[in-house]
């Protein structure tokens, strides 16, 4: 009896100990968290890009905050934090909170996301049965990277000028996700070249129609490329891609179908607006851009005809202590968040502008009237806009662009590029008994890079 037990125990121990040794490696190969995955499939990579709350709804607001679509009362201005106050008055420094909760960090967060995908996608075999998925993920990443770079170069560099672009300081072009690599600034020319290259490649990869407008499509990439060329004042190329884009999608929403009485007239259309090509919105909104504070320039409000539906659909007449001022309620996001994706109305206006600049008055006005009739009260006859020549047509198109694309995050870059064309737009702020002026082509049109980024990376700061 005793020896049987003895032998059993000894054998047991030998088996146990030896089995540890042999199975050890396999035993330790188990992954610790089943929700953790090394990105190794198309689904893994696509899932990074489908994080729509991070990818689509955290666009920079510095441009809109610095531009002149709105103004603040002194009371509201004084209630803001310092960073926003500095940005509103085009201050010298401290325009961005340090850390990751600022426009710079949010843009580069998407750059990193895109780079994580681009680094890994070439390691994944492109299978014939999932070729579309592979193309979509790569095209999506390229689109996202280009779009983020475009924001950064529009905010933190001077307006594109062919004469000086190769020497003007551009932006850090981070092309892989390795955080050990230092950041350095490329030139403005290199920055735009990178945006264009990424977008062109994405056009070849993205589908004509995406699963949802929260994901980019060919039209989205073409629209973004047209926007890029417009900002570079390369109107031929802008025309080319705006035109290609409209061939894929040109729908316009008839505003007669909307209710101007709604708190937010586009609330039911956040993801189903026929004009939406790709859906993005600005972070927040920050306190200053909240409709409870941001007041619309009354001159701008008065410039809408009373039969122009946009007057009532875009704007709310403030009451109480704010009587006599107007608030914006016409965001395509359908709430107080500002939509800044690509929509067909922007493309129609880009093509109209390019036609006008190339002297084609008729085509320019045709595009403009196609858009505006959808904004006109259909119980009153629409009188098409006319012009003596292409020059006048261009002025009218730019005026309508201002009115149509109010609070869309486009005004700041429009001021920058139009001043390069000699528009001579001078910005004025009056707040707290003090006046602030921003003259055309001022160095302050290139915002200061967040101070902590400069001190950690040693990059060159913009002169102010």
């Amino acid at each position: 009896m005793l020896s049987i037990i003895k032998n059993t125990i000894c054998t047991g121990i030998i088996i146990l100990v030896s089995s540890y040794l042999f199975s050890c490696k396999k035993y330790l190969d188990k992954k610790p968290d089943q929700r953790l995955a090394i990105p190794s499939s198309i689904q893994d990579l696509q899932s990074l890009l489908d994080n729509y709350l991070q990818v689509n709804h955290r666009d920079p607001f510095a441009g809109e905050l610095s531009a002149d679509d709105y103004y603040l009362t002194t009371d509201d201005f004084l209630g803001l934090n310092e960073v926003e106050r500095n940005m509103y008055t085009w201050g010298k420094s401290n325009l961005f909170a340090p850390g990751i909760d600022n426009d710079w960090a949010r843009c580069y967060n998407n750059v990193n996301r895109a780079n994580q995908v681009l680094l890994n996608i070439d390691k994944i075999e492109r299978l014939p049965n999932d070729g579309a998925g592979w193309n979509n993920a790569k095209g999506h990443a390229l689109f996202l990277r280009a779009r983020s770079f475009l924001f950064v170069v529009s905010l933190w560099s001077a307006a594109y000028d062919m004469a000086s672009a190769s020497t003007d300081p551009g932006i850090p072009l981070r092309l892989n996700p390795d955080f050990n690599e230092a950041s350095t600034r490329a030139s403005v020319q290199q920055s735009y070249d990178q945006v264009i290259a990424d977008l062109k490649q994405s056009i070849s990869l993205l589908p004509d129609i995406s699963l949802h407008t929260i994901r980019p499509s060919k039209a989205a990439a073409m629209g973004t490329l047209a926007r890029t060329y417009l900002w570079m004042r390369n109107y031929d190329s802008c025309f080319k891609y705006a035109d290609l884009c409209l061939q894929l999608k040109s729908d316009l929403k008839d505003y007669n179908e909307l209710s101007a009485l709604s708190t937010f007239p586009f609330s039911g259309l956040q993801y189903s607006n026929p004009e939406d090509i790709v859906n993005f919105s600005i972070t927040g909104p920050p306190a200053s851009l909240n409709p409870s504070r941001a007041k619309i320039d009354s001159g701008l409000y008065q410039s809408y005809d009373t039969n122009d539906l946009r007057r009532e659909i875009f704007f709310r007449t403030n009451t109480g202590v704010n009587t006599g001022t107007f608030a914006f309620k016409g965001s395509y996001a359908g709430n107080s968040v500002l939509y800044d994706g690509i929509a067909t109305n922007e493309i129609w206006l880009m093509r109209a502008e390019c036609y006008a600049r190339s002297g084609n008055k008729v085509a320019a006005l045709l595009d403009l009237n196609t858009l505006l009739i959808k904004r006109w009260n259909n119980t009153v006859p629409y009188i098409p806009i006319t012009a003596i020549d292409a020059r006048e047509a261009l002025d009218k198109i730019l005026m309508e662009r201002r009115k149509e694309l109010v609070m869309r995050g486009l005004r700041w870059m429009d001021i920058k590029r139009l001043n390069k064309e000699g528009a001579n737009i001078t910005l004025q702020r009056n707040v707290n008994n003090q006046g602030y002026t921003l003259v055309p082509n001022d160095k302050k049109y290139a915002l200061p890079i967040p101070d902590d980024v400069i001190s950690l990376s040693g990059m060159q700061q913009n002169e102010r």
Binding site: P32, L36, G79, I100, S267, V321, V453, L456
Partner: protein, 1069 residues
């Protein structure tokens, strides 16, 4: 009592076996000498009183002695044990078991457990702190750990500046990461992976702290923060059935809610009036759906719009001035807390079976009427079927149920801030009053045209509609076999299975504001009907978490004694796996009575009231599974020569499945070595004053891991994108091939000494530790785009050193006995290296709320902006910029302040700490008083934060001390209030040296008074012994360095627990 039983038992055996003995011949008596904890005693001398024959016991405690027949007395003696006299009548050669007791109280506890083995303390080279049963039970409580900080040499806690939570550490910090700074907890032999509150303190026999590398490195990569070994009570062989009962009742007062320094209602109202006149609310008033605004602001607005007259408004406002929301909390939500504890244990042992069966029941009701019920059941037995084989099995089962109570002070908040300090929860008749925390009453008056559910919030009733319950079930079972293969060698195999199931049921009834709010928000109002996209009914959130861990350990032990040599060694391996699964989900439209729910549409957006923006119905469902595997090999040995020189060594290798780490990096050998020299045992040693003197020195390595850290890029799936219906994810870990485990080395030197009769004894230890490869957050430039401002890397190096001194004295030892236990600890540490520190701005250091990680300073160093007083003309705080007095706060709190401009304050961790316990006894009374002290450290005092005051309605009573007119600067240091608020000015003041406050204090921790009843005194007692005890806890501070009435352990708006008193009775049958 026990002694008497043993003697009786032995005599019984002896008597039994003596019959039938041939009286004519010398007889041989065989037996075994054991200590009370069943360890064999080697070298015990046995002698016959009448005939002078002698023998001694061998390694296993076995002996054999020749005796002459007839009545005799056997005398058994051994150093360190009480001499034993055993009357012999007629004896046989049957095996006699002699149990010897240690010779003094202090020596009684000399066995220390590492969880892997038990070693006699006098042969251990490592640093151990022992909490014996008596000391442990001087305090009363539901949990095991709370009471240890005040009685353990080298274990303390300090509040973290950012959260106010207390962090308990052994010998200071060994890591820079708070989340992995906790000591490893071992229950008997295995890491306890369940909720530590499961363990019933009545099941605890003693607790051992493993403080240095030699003691703890046997636990390898998890031991760097120190190890706490909890040893449970065990049954003993050859012991009659023993029954012990313990019951106590603890009652605590309501906590002092007025301890927190809040702005007075009057001051707050005046401020609101001022802000109103400045137009601060102008951007909010037109949007009643966004901004609830306070009652005063709403009255001012009504007066402003002519709805009510100014005098009506003033009357309404002035009525608020005398109100204080804390009174409301105190009146309606707080009560005395009552904790009840009942425990019973039965134990016993026969020749080959020792067993204990215990049960416990705890029933607590907190000051907020939160309930906690716990049931414990434990069965532990050791079976010795035949010589050399020992089978141990134990099952420990715990079930607990926690039910959340009423809202705690400050927990009711409004959109973007606190509710006004004059808020009332009930009218004078006790009827609930609504509090507007989310929407303005003027919005609710018209919202939905009366077709929505009541949208008001009544704090007085709301909690009654919410039920939040957590049930925990835990089973911890161990099966162990120990087999002596042949002399000196034994094999141990132990298997442990632990499973814990935690179930949380959070039901927000339809009557609760949260549920009504959600239902209303998603109501679609159409002419003539209301469509509820979220159905009416309760919202139920259920979550389940299952942890299963299994360990299998096999170990070979070797022990041999020959001549003057002794070797004790072991080698073993352990394989373990811990699997955690969890899932959580929500149901809407839940009906408690018939257990039904209603499906909702998670895939479409709906306009949400009141903003009419579109949104998805909140979905909270998910699954998770974690799996941690370890494979470890370890060995440990000690060699003792001439009982005075001991050399020890240990080594352990751990491997884990930390995801993606290269196999090479998975292995981390950790080792230690130690020596000890008992000088007092040397022939030349003659010092009588230090009758016992031993020197020890150890050195070795321990590790620390963070299971959440992996080295490869990984993504984590978070949810389904409701638009594309595809899963989405975030990058969870960024590729970092350099990721390693933290490594801590420690050098420990110690002196242990005692006077001849142990009237005085103590230990003096000095340690130095070096911590390398510490995980530390290093700043990452945001262009890297990782989405975090910092990145955790193996970037830190730190060193620490300190003294652990312990003194025991018996000051008076007559009828009246007075003994003192004194603990004195010092600790000092500094960061040696941290990557990327040069870019830290001075302002980051002054504003830091946690580890600053500054090379050359303690990780918890406290620096502040230099203070140049208040500006006599304006009351502005003044600092320094380029050594000039300055008010350029933007520059001071950002780039303008260099590190050298900061004022060094000191450490936020106590540099000196410890406790003093005095025990008095007279006849059957005894009294124990414990005082703890913490010295030489600082905390940042809270003061008025004007930004929080204006934006979030969170005010501090320092507001009333603010500078208001020239001359005030002579009597106050609180800056004037300015509007608009300047954030930089604010943060300069809050992080300036003027608020740095000395935290030193002495606290009366507990008083224990007890009265013993026993049969010797009270002959008619129905039980052998009973102790009646009264313990009072949280008695407060005796002395503190600060003059502001602040208890440094409860800063940051934490309220100290109220004084409590416990009455209890312990009975042995």
């Amino acid at each position: 009592m026990q002694k008497i039983f043993l003697l009786l038992l032995i005599s019984f055996f002896v008597a039994l076996q003596a019959t039938g003995q041939d009286q004519n011949n010398a007889i041989k008596l065989n037996g075994r000498v054991l200590s009370t904890d069943q360890k064999p005693i080697a070298g015990a001398t046995l002698s016959s009183k009448l005939h002078g024959t002698e023998a001694s016991s061998d390694d296993d405690g076995n002996f054999s002695i020749q005796l002459l027949p007839g009545t005799d007395t056997l005398i058994i003696s051994h150093i360190g044990f009480l001499q034993k006299r055993l009357p012999l009548n007629q004896t046989t050669n049957s095996s006699l078991i002699i149990v010897m007791e240690r010779s003094s109280l202090e020596l009684e506890e000399v066995m220390v457990s590492t969880g892997i083995e038990k070693i006699p303390k006098e042969r251990a080279t490592g640093s151990f702190a022992l909490i014996n049963n008596k000391l442990f039970n001087e305090q009363v409580g539901t949990g095991v750990l709370n009471r240890l900080q005040s009685i353990t040499n080298g274990y303390t806690s300090f509040p973290l500046r950012n959260t106010g939570d207390n962090l308990s550490v052994v010998r200071g910090l060994s890591t820079l990461s708070v989340n992995i700074a906790k000591p490893l907890i071992i229950l008997d032999n295995f890491e306890y992976q369940g909720d530590i509150n499961n363990i019933n303190p009545n099941d605890v026999e003693n607790i051992t702290f493993l403080k240095d590398a030699a003691a703890g490195s046997i636990w390898g990569a998890k031991a760097a923060n120190g190890v706490i070994v909890i040893t449970t009570k065990k049954g003993l062989l050859n012991q009659p059935v023993k029954v012990e009962l313990n019951t106590n009742l603890t009652i605590a007062d309501k906590p002092d809610l007025f301890y927190s320094k809040n702005i007075s209602s009057g001051d707050f109202i005046d401020l609101e009036k001022y802000l109103f006149s400045e137009g601060y609310y102008n951007s909010m008033l037109p949007y009643p759906e966004y901004y609830p605004l306070s009652p005063v602001v709403n009255l001012l607005d009504k007066a402003n719009r002519g709805i009510i007259s100014d005098s009506e408004a003033d009357a309404g406002i002035n009525a608020f001035r005398s109100q204080d929301v804390r009174k409301e909390y105190e009146k309606y939500f707080y009560k005395n807390s009552v904790n009840q504890q009942y425990a019973i244990s039965l134990s016993g042992g026969t020749k080959n079976l020792a067993w204990i069966l215990s049960g416990g029941f705890d029933k607590n009701s907190s000051e907020l009427n939160a309930r906690y019920n716990r049931v414990n059941m434990r069965f532990d037995n050791t079976y010795v079927p035949f010589k050399n084989l020992e089978i141990n099995s134990s099952v420990y089962y715990t079930q607990s149920k926690t039910t959340a109570g009423r809202p705690a002070v400050g927990s009711i908040s409004a959109m973007g801030g606190a509710i006004a300090p004059y808020t009332l929860f009930a009218d004078e008749n006790g009827n609930p009053l609504p509090v507007y925390t989310t929407y303005n009453p003027s919005y609710l008056d018209t919202a939905g045209g009366g077709r929505l559910l009541d949208w008001r919030y009544f704090p007085l009733d709301d909690y009654k509609h919410i039920s939040n319950q957590t049930n925990i079930e835990n089973l911890n079972a161990v099966l162990g076999i120990r087999y002596k293969v042949f002399t000196g060698f034994s094999i141990d195999i132990k298997y442990r299975y632990q499973s814990q199931h935690t179930e949380t049921e959070y039901l927000q009834g339809q009557g609760s504001f949260a549920t009504r709010n959600l239902i209303n928000s998603f109501s679609q109002l159409t002419p003539g009907s209301v469509i509820y996209k979220i159905p009416k009914g309760d919202i139920l959130d259920l979550s389940n978490s299952y942890t299963n861990s299994q360990n299998l350990r096999s170990q070979l032990n070797f022990s041999k004694q020959w001549h003057t040599h002794e070797i004790v060694a072991l080698a073993g391996s352990e394989i373990s796996e811990s699997v955690n699964k969890n899932n959580y989900y929500r149901t809407y439209g839940h009906n408690r009575d018939i257990l039904t729910y209603v499906d909702v549409d998670y895939t479409n957006t709906y306009p949400i009231l009141p903003y009419r923006s579109n949104g998805f119905i909140p979905n909270s469902s998910g699954f998770g599974k974690r799996n941690n595997r370890f494979v470890s090999f370890y060995a440990n040995g000690a060699y003792t020569y001439k009982t005075r020189y001991t050399l020890s060594a240990s080594a352990r290798r751990d491997a884990s499945n930390a995801f993606g780490v290269k196999t090479n990096d998975k292995w981390k050998p950790l080792w230690s070595t130690g020596v000890s020299w008992e000088i007092s045992n040397e022939p030349f040693y003659k010092l009588q004053l230090l009758y016992y003197l031993r020197l020890k020195m150890t050195y070795g390595y321990q590790g620390n891991i963070d299971p959440a850290k992996v080295a490869l890029t990984t993504i984590r799936y978070s949810n389904i994108n409701p638009l594309t219906l595809t899963p989405y994810s975030v990058v969870d870990n960024f590729y970092n091939p350099e990721l390693k485990w933290e490594q801590v080395s420690m050098l420990n030197t110690a002196v242990e000494w005692a006077s001849k009769n142990r009237r005085l004894s103590g230990s003096f230890e000095y340690y130095e530790k070096k911590m390398a490869d510490l995980y530390a957050a290093t700043r990452i430039e945001s262009t890297m785009g990782i989405g975090f401002a910092t990145m955790v890397r193996n970037a830190g190096k730190m060193k620490g050193r300190g003294f652990d001194i312990e003194l025991n004295s018996i000051n008076i030892d007559r009828k009246f006995r007075w003994a003192t236990h004194f603990i004195f600890n010092t600790y000092k540490d500094k960061v040696l290296k941290l990557k990327n520190p040069s870019t830290l701005l001075g302002s980051d250091i002054a504003g830091s709320t946690g580890f600053t990680g500054l090379e050359g300073y303690s990780p918890f160093v406290y620096f502040a902006y230099q203070w140049a007083g208040l500006d006599p003309a304006t009351g502005d705080p003044q600092g320094y910029l380029d050594r000039q007095v300055s008010k350029d706060y933007g520059a001071i709190t950002y780039e303008g302040t260099k590190f050298s401009d900061l004022k060094y304050i000191g450490s936020q961790f106590p540099r000196i700490f410890g406790s003093l316990g005095n025990s008095f006894s007279w006849r059957n009374f005894s009294l124990n008083i414990r005082v703890i002290y913490k010295f030489n450290y600082y905390f940042r005092r809270e003061s008025i934060n004007y930004r929080s005051l204006v934006n979030q309605s969170i005010g501090h009573s320092d507001y009333s001390l603010r500078w208001q007119k020239p001359g005030d600067e002579l009597s106050t240091t609180v800056p004037s209030f300015i509007y608009p608020v300047n954030n930089s000015r604010n943060s300069f003041y809050l992080n300036s040296e003027i608020l740095a406050t000395k935290a030193d204090h002495i606290r009366l921790q507990y008083i224990n008074i007890s009265y013993d009843l026993n049969k010797q005194v009270f002959k008619k007692l129905p039980f052998s012994q009973a102790t009646l005890y009264v313990v009072s806890n949280n008695l407060g501070i005796i002395w503190k360095a600060n003059e502001f009435g602040i208890d440094p352990d409860y800063n940051n708006n934490n309220i100290p627990p109220a004084k409590s008193i416990a009455v209890g009775l312990r009975i042995s049958l």
